[in-house]
């Protein structure tokens, strides 16, 4: 059964083999992202960088709240291009396109 197959294949591939996975192209979105869409997108950063980019005191993972929009977008672009050495951020940055990182940059710049 197809579902059962996915169950097994999914679990086998879930870690470490993502690169050979059959991911589709990124879903097409509107030319501009709505405020709620950007907020939801920013929430996907919060798992490591804290709610709205605020990390706990002494965190080795840097906070991203209050970074300038340009700096944020530039860093993400550099991670995507593999120009900044990293453990995980190069891999994560490649999941977000230019338009999304510009919108995220504006969102985090507005967080105080």
């Amino acid at each position: 059964m197809i579902r059962g197959t996915w169950l097994v294949v999914g679990a086998l591939l879930c870690a470490g083999f993502v690169r050979i996975a059959c991911g589709e192209a990124e879903p097409q979105a509107d030319a501009t992202l709505s405020a709620t869409a950007v907020r939801a997108l920013a929430a996907s950063c919060a798992g490591c960088h804290g709610t709205d980019g605020h990390v706990v005191k002494g965190s080795k993972v840097p906070g991203i709240a209050g970074l300038s929009q340009d700096y944020f977008a530039m860093q993400m672009s550099a991670y995507r291009a593999g120009k900044i050495p990293s453990t995980v951020m190069q891999q994560i940055a490649k999941g977000y396109d230019e338009r999304e990182t510009v919108a995220l940059g504006a969102y985090f710049a507005a967080q105080r």
């Binding site: 579902r3 059962g4 996915w6 169950l7 097994v8 294949v9 999914g10 679990a11 086998l12 591939l13 879930c14 870690a15 470490g16 083999f17 993502v18 690169r19 996975a21 059959c22 991911g23 589709e24 192209a25 990124e26 879903p27 097409q28 979105a29 709620t36 869409a37 907020r39 939801a40 997108l41 929430a43 996907s44 950063c45 919060a46 798992g47 490591c48 960088h49 804290g50 709610t51 605020h54 990390v55 706990v56 965190s59 080795k60 993972v61 453990t87 995980v88 891999q91 994560i92 940055a93 490649k94 999941g95 977000y96």
Partner: protein
């Protein structure tokens, strides 16, 4: 078919007429009331983000029987002796005081989806506009002959979820003499947190290497191979624990004997242990199973991935380990946190008459310790693919660590504290 009757039949006793009369909760919230069941990574995140994404207009109730949140991620470090359980324990007070979530220490006894009410062990009956279930997992102890009895006596522990059993397993390791054999059995995938058993084996080996070097750690895996970060784990094992940690694949557990601490397998010889940690097969948490929502292989709940709404129950959303995962999506605390945010955004939109985000994204990073000071990771970013009605990994993104490092161990620790704050502070 009889799904609704099934759900309704679980609504024990309590008069539905008593709704609102037996509780101090606001009786008629303007924007709507969402009840979240389960205060783990998925449920706690859902509760907080429902308040954030509704600009505090939704009335949010969190129902959780435990007094505090205890993290399963990092709990292998308690088993390995580097952390205390108290360091993984976080109060629900942040949700109460910072976010205005009504946190009830209670247990759900019934759900009536057609009337949109739940009943609680305390006798309360609550009405909801939306219900979010985050019941986690339940070990299927009955699938292994002898396991339920061995588990009941405390001789054979599983410690899938952090708590008293985590500490008990640590005590067993401490009591084991040098030269003892620790056996960890791993079920066929899917199960909660793919790298968890391999991380546990690594940290038990690290403990033995330091304090009981004549001991042996046997990792007996029902799968064909290490299912997560296999190259990295195997490299760490061969370099750090040669002769101490031994990995064997195709070991399908068929029974245990708690008296002699012996494990039986389908084809391999019996194995005797001094500490026998059986990581049994798991399925969706009891509430999901008993309410008839876990229909995929009788183990997992099917959801609409755009909203995480159950395909069986209207206005019932399910997040976290209990769902039938999207392709190549692990069951992890991080994913539960991500599911919950998509569900919260969708619910806030639905209850305010707005359209649901058509292109949500999820990110995941699973850190695993391979020694007391070094960790590795596996990461992915997922996009919703409308044609397939599911999330798929975004091509080119994601991957694993190039090598284990102390830096990643520091990141793992920071990740935990930041995500706990993201859920609970």
């Amino acid at each position: 078919m009889q799904r609704r009757e099934l759900l309704r039949s679980l609504l024990a006793g309590g008069s539905l007429a008593a709704i609102g009369a037996c509780t101090s909760l606001p009786s008629s919230p303007k924007a709507g009331r969402v009840i979240v069941v389960g205060g783990g990574y998925g449920g706690a995140t859902a509760a907080k983000y429902l308040r954030l994404f509704s600009d505090r207009t939704l009335d949010v109730v969190l129902i959780e029987p435990q007094a505090s949140f205890i993290s399963s991620p990092l709990s292998n470090r308690v088993i390995g002796g580097q952390l205390q359980l108290s360091e993984l324990t976080v109060s629900y007070d942040g949700l109460r005081h910072e976010h205005g979530v009504h946190v009830l220490r209670d247990r759900v006894t019934g759900i009536a989806v057609d009337r949109q009410v739940i009943s609680l062990a305390s006798g309360k009956v609550l009405r909801y506009d939306k219900l979010v279930l985050a019941p986690g997992i339940e070990p299927m102890l009955d699938t292994i002959p002898g396991l339920a009895e061995g588990h009941a006596t405390g001789r054979i522990l599983q410690a899938w979820s952090a708590g008293a059993e985590t500490v008990a397993l640590r005590r067993q390791l401490e009591a084991m003499p040098d030269g003892g054999v620790v056996v960890i059995t791993i079920p066929e995938a899917p199960y909660r947190c793919p790298p968890a058993p391999y991380e546990r084996a690594s940290l038990v080996a690290a403990y033995c290497k330091q304090f009981k070097p004549r001991s042996k750690v046997l990792v007996l895996d029902a799968n064909q191979d290490v299912i997560a970060m296999g190259t990295l784990f195997k490299k760490a094992w061969s370099e750090l624990y040669p002769g101490l940690l031994e990995y064997r694949n195709h070991y399908v557990l068929t029974g245990v004997d708690a008296t002699s601490l012996t494990a039986h397998f389908d084809v391999a010889d019996d194995v005797r242990a001094d500490v026998l940690n059986v990581m049994a097969p798991v399925r969706a948490g009891r509430l999901a199973v008993e309410s008839g929502l876990a229909t995929i292989n009788q183990r997992w709940c099917e959801v609409d991935f755009l909203t995480f709404e159950s395909t069986l129950g209207a206005n019932v959303h399910i997040v976290g380990d209990s769902i039938h995962s999207a392709p190549m999506m692990p069951k992890s605390g991080f994913m539960a946190n991500a599911h919950a945010k998509v569900a919260a955004a969708a619910i806030a939109a639905q209850l305010s008459g707005q359209s649901v985000n058509a292109a949500p994204k999820l990110a995941n990073t699973c850190y695993s310790f391979v020694s007391q000071s070094e960790a590795i990771h596996s990461a992915a970013v997922y996009g919703y693919v409308a044609e397939a009605k599911t999330f798929k990994p975004i091509q080119g993104a994601g991957g694993v660590s190039p090598a284990r490092s102390t830096l990643e161990a520091q990141y793992a620790d920071a990740w935990a504290h930041n995500i706990w704050a993201d859920m609970l502070a």
